[in-house]
């Protein structure tokens, strides 16, 4: 079936199978920042923005995105660099596989609340698993990012 949507500001029209997930669709469209880590909506590696809200693209049927706007990290490079720099300064990027999903969710968080509490950061990002860092380095980076934004 045919689906029309916007991806990173670009109009896309594609013929897809009805059971195709958004995650598979986006990778097929060569948005490779969208990862597959689990297939069961547990890891957060496939997070994208659907009309500005973070969703797990592995559990969204692509057909349901008809008329919506999707943003992947490819379309959010400036914000990714801004937040990412603080993670890089902690060495908390590590293997990097969870990074795009984690950064997407962090972008959504800071758009929603420019000054989230530590607790809110933890809760908001709790669906983004990371096996390398133990989360502390990511937290340190996000807290410094918040403090820098607050100072500005």
């Amino acid at each position: 079936m045919r689906v029309k949507l916007k991806i990173n500001g670009k109009k896309v029209c594609a013929d897809i199978d009805p059971d195709m997930t958004l995650q598979k669709f986006l990778r097929k469209q060569k948005y490779f920042s969208v990862k597959c880590g689990c297939e069961t909506s547990n890891c957060g590696a496939c997070s994208v923005l659907l009309d500005g809200k973070p969703v797990l693209s592995c559990s969204v049927p692509a057909v349901r995105t008809q008329g919506y706007e999707i943003e992947t990290l490819e379309g959010l490079q400036k914000e990714a660099e801004e937040i990412g720099a603080f993670i890089a300064d902690e060495g908390a990027d590590q293997c990097g596989f969870c990074n795009p999903g984690f950064i997407i969710t962090a972008i959504a968080l800071f758009r929603e609340d420019p000054c989230p509490s530590d607790e809110k950061i933890r809760i908001y990002l709790s669906g983004n698993l990371c096996r390398c860092t133990g989360y502390e380095g990511q937290m340190r980076g996000l807290i410094r990012y918040r403090e820098q934004r607050r100072a500005v």
Binding site: T40, G91, C95
Partner: protein, 763 residues
């Protein structure tokens, strides 16, 4: 000593921003179209013979390119192993690409190749298999001398004598010791005698096993894979396919986490086989379920510990027997088990005797592999838990007890192959951890107003730095036009940041900015030989190779500069920017140019390095838990880790390694459970059931370093990657005991176990 300018600095990883902005750098992002899709039909039985298999319906589907079964594999040919290890491997050659005899739920029955995923999925369902189901061995305690022999075939073989007796399901058996342990323990006033059980926990790298294969322009097989071991993959694939090694090239792009899992050729063989047969590009991406059910987790082990101390609180001897479950294939079984003893017993330096015996058995589970800690984690859970219990029996503070008994710098470690301890600050690590957790002020147990219990626990750990007299690390460095350097290595940065730390070592020696080092890893056609990134070897072994290589290149640059300046090289020096002699100088850039015009000398160096010893890093870990005795819920309030990894090459990265290792250890201790059904199916086969810690599960991790200086390592460095997972489960076991008065001898310690224990106590 010269002040360090680049080493020991918390610089960013060189690939950080590419990773953080989601660039296509992993295997599955780099695939060229067209690319055939491979999926594997897996056995639903734990032990069976494929009597017949009918693939005609699958082959009739449009878009299906090929289906391979046991009929395509000569069952009598020489077998191979998928364990990544230096030749000659200790692993038995017990695998065929497709074996008619399937030995665990998930063993490969057929390889299906097609144009797209959906068609291949459909084809998998159309294959008819007739099985002769055999009795399965699922309890590893029943494996030895079981009437079911898991490898009855005649073409099983092993290259090294590790005490195997395959007809008894015994993969390996060994014993070693010093003195008369029975006599020494008999004299001890206090003895703890316990049996501990750890399960086959999973590494949970975020990037699933992924391999892409294509034929290169020279008609050779090019394997692109998420692996820690490019050179071993070349060896393994050549053995499996029975083709010359010269026909194979292996490249590793960015790796989305390994933790040891990718030290085994879990996914590479199948696409390599298909690509070589069909001469067409293809890929295999494991589902997460396959990662949980058909991969290479930690070895399940049972450890019987006897440990004794005299009336003065001196540990006199440790007797350890380990039974290890390797699963259906041998792989890393014979080697992991050794670390349970050799990386736990040596921690205590006043022993008069020790004994360490082990058995590794085949069962009908997926085979185990390498996971951070590699046996030391299991051994230290047992021995360190026993040490805590011994301290409690003697009414001695467990930290004071350890300070009295631990091994010290300068001592010989009999249970560590008699290696001398050349660098160690374990005593300072322990004292710092004690202060950081507030051990003295808080006390080991206190009840809060709301009835919950706060409790403390402690443990220590060691690991190695590479495998003594085995591991080889190499580096090639060249000076390029423009005055920058290329560093080429064969180790695999799987997210640890080793590409960056190795570059830091090179930059330090060459007196240059880190940006002037461009790094490449790893490709068997390009990189100098490296055994691979495992056994905590990269910083210490490859790092030293880089240091020596950079020193050699530095000397070549000085000689080249001296020729241009027409000076004696003895009178010249190099400051990174120029070679100079009194008031004359020539820039690095001009030296590089000169090497490219009418030159007979290359400004390149290539060095291999091995170490006769494996200097251990150390760690002290202490935790504070909050336990709700009513529900059994345990919350980690804080985990403190203090590490001696020698000089931290990059303090940011050693810190993150430590935090990550502690968190994996917390998962192993409290939530990561592995069970199987009576048929041998793994129950926890997704992140829904297999519970790794999330951001919400731990309140605070606090990490500090007490660096020693290891003369044999690059700029004093030892390893960091593995030691950091080892203190967590025994420290938590102790704190849980302090909270509820019951010691648990099996991991994980689940909330329901604690709640049930409380209930029974109150009855």
């Amino acid at each position: 000593m010269k002040e360090l300018k680049v080493v020991n600095r918390p610089v960013r990883k060189k690939d950080a921003m590419q990773l953080l902005t989601g660039q296509p750098v992993y295997t599955d992002d780099l695939i060229k179209e067209p690319c055939l899709i491979i999926k594997l039909l897996r056995s639903p039985h734990a032990n069976a013979i494929v009597k017949d298999i009918d693939t005609s319906k699958a082959l009739a589907l449009e878009g299906i390119e090929a289906v391979f079964t046991y009929k395509d594999i000569d069952q009598e040919q020489e077998r191979y192993t998928i364990a990544g290890a230096a030749y000659p491997e200790f692993a038995p050659y017990d695998r065929l690409i497709i074996d008619r005899h399937v030995r665990y739920v998930g063993d490969v029955v057929a390889i299906v190749v097609g144009e797209d995923e959906k068609t291949v999925d459909r084809a998998l369902k159309l294959i008819d298999v007739e099985y002769e189901v055999l009795d399965a061995v699922l309890d590893f305690r029943q494996a030895l001398d079981n009437k079911t022999v898991i490898h009855p075939e005649d073409n099983w073989k092993i290259l090294v004598d590790v005490g195997s007796d395959v007809k008894r399901n015994l993969v390996a058996g060994s014993s070693c010791g010093m003195g008369n342990i029975d006599e020494v323990l008999g004299r001890c006033r206090y003895v703890v005698d316990r049996t501990y059980h750890t399960k086959a926990t999973q590494q949970c790298y975020m990037e699933p096993f992924t391999t892409y294969c294509e034929m290169d322009p020279y008609g050779r097989l090019h394997i692109v894979s998420s692996t820690q071991i490019v050179f071993h993959i070349r060896h393994i694939v050549a053995s499996a396919l029975h083709i010359p090694k010269s026909m194979i090239r292996v490249t590793k792009p960015r790796v989305g986490g390994g933790f040891g899992a990718k030290q085994t050729a879990v996914s590479e063989i199948y696409p390599a086989f298909v690509c070589y047969r069909l001469k067409k590009a293809c890929k295999l991406v494991f589902s997460r379920k396959e990662c949980f059910t058909a991969s290479s987790p930690r070895h399940e082990m049972e450890m019987h510990v006897r440990i004794g101390a005299d009336e003065n609180g001196i540990i006199k001897g440790i007797d350890l027997h380990t039974l290890s479950n390797t699963g259906a294939y041998g792989e890393h079984g014979p080697t992991t088990v050794d670390l349970t003893g050799h990386k736990s017993i040596p921690l205590y330096g006043k022993q008069e005797a020790f004994r360490f015996t082990s058995e590794v058995v085949y069962t009908n589970h997926m085979s185990s592999g390498a996971y951070r800690g590699f046996g030391a984690t299991q051994g230290l859970f047992a021995v360190e838990s026993a040490v805590n219990e011994l301290a409690a029996l003697m009414h001695i503070d467990p930290i004071e007890f350890r300070l009295k008994n631990i091994v010290k710098e300068g001592e010989i470690m009999p249970a560590y192959f008699n290696e001398p301890l050349t660098s160690c600050t374990l005593d300072r690590c322990l004292m710092k951890a004690r202060d950081m957790i507030g051990w003295k002020e808080k006390g080991q147990r206190r009840v809060l107003e709301n009835g919950k219990v706060r409790s403390l626990g402690v443990a220590i750990a060691m690991q190695g730095s590479g495998i003594s007299s085995v591991d080889v690390g190499s580096a090639t460095l060249k000076l390029n036009e423009g005055g920058f350097y290329s560093l080429i290595v064969g180790s695999a940065d799987m997210g640890t940041g080793s590409d960056t730390t190795l570059s830091q070592v090179a930059a330090e020696v060459l007196d240059c900015n880190l940006d002037h080092i461009q790094v490449f890893s790893a490709d068997t056609d390009i990189s100098p030989y490296d055994s691979g990134s495992y056994a905590s070897s990269t910083a210490y072994v490859t790092g030293k190779a880089v240091e020596r290589c950079a020193t050699e290149l530095r000397n070549k640059i000085i000689r080249a500069g001296a020729r241009i300046l027409e000076c004696d090289p003895e009178n010249c020096d190099f400051d990174g920017e120029k070679v100079f002699c009194e008031d004359k100088s020539v820039s690095t850039e001009d030296i590089a140019y000169a090497s490219m015009v009418f030159s007979n000398d290359s400004l390149e160096a290539s060095v291999s390095h091995s170490s006769k010893t494996s200097p251990p890093p150390f760690m002290a870990g202490a935790c504070e838990l909050e336990t709700d005795l009513e529900t059994g819920e345990v919350k980690v309030i804080e985990y403190v880790g203090v590490v001696d990894c020698g000089t931290p090459l990059n303090p940011n990265l050693t810190r993150i390694q430590t935090e990550g290792g502690i968190m994996q250890g917390i998962g192993m201790a409290l939530s990561e459970d592995v069970n199987c059904t009576s048929k041998g199916n793994v129950i926890e086969n997704s992140f829904m059931e297999y519970k790794i810690p999330t951001r919400m599960d731990v309140e605070k991790l606090s990490v500090e370093f007490e660096p020693s200086y290891e003369d044999l390592g690059p700029f004093g460095a030892k390893s960091i990657g593995e030691v950091v997972i080892n203190t967590t489960s025994p420290a938590i076991q102790e704190a849980v005991y302090q909270a509820c008065g019951k010691r648990f001898y099996e991991l994980p310690i689940r909330a329901e176990d604690i709640a049930m224990a409380e209930k029974q106590k109150n009855r």
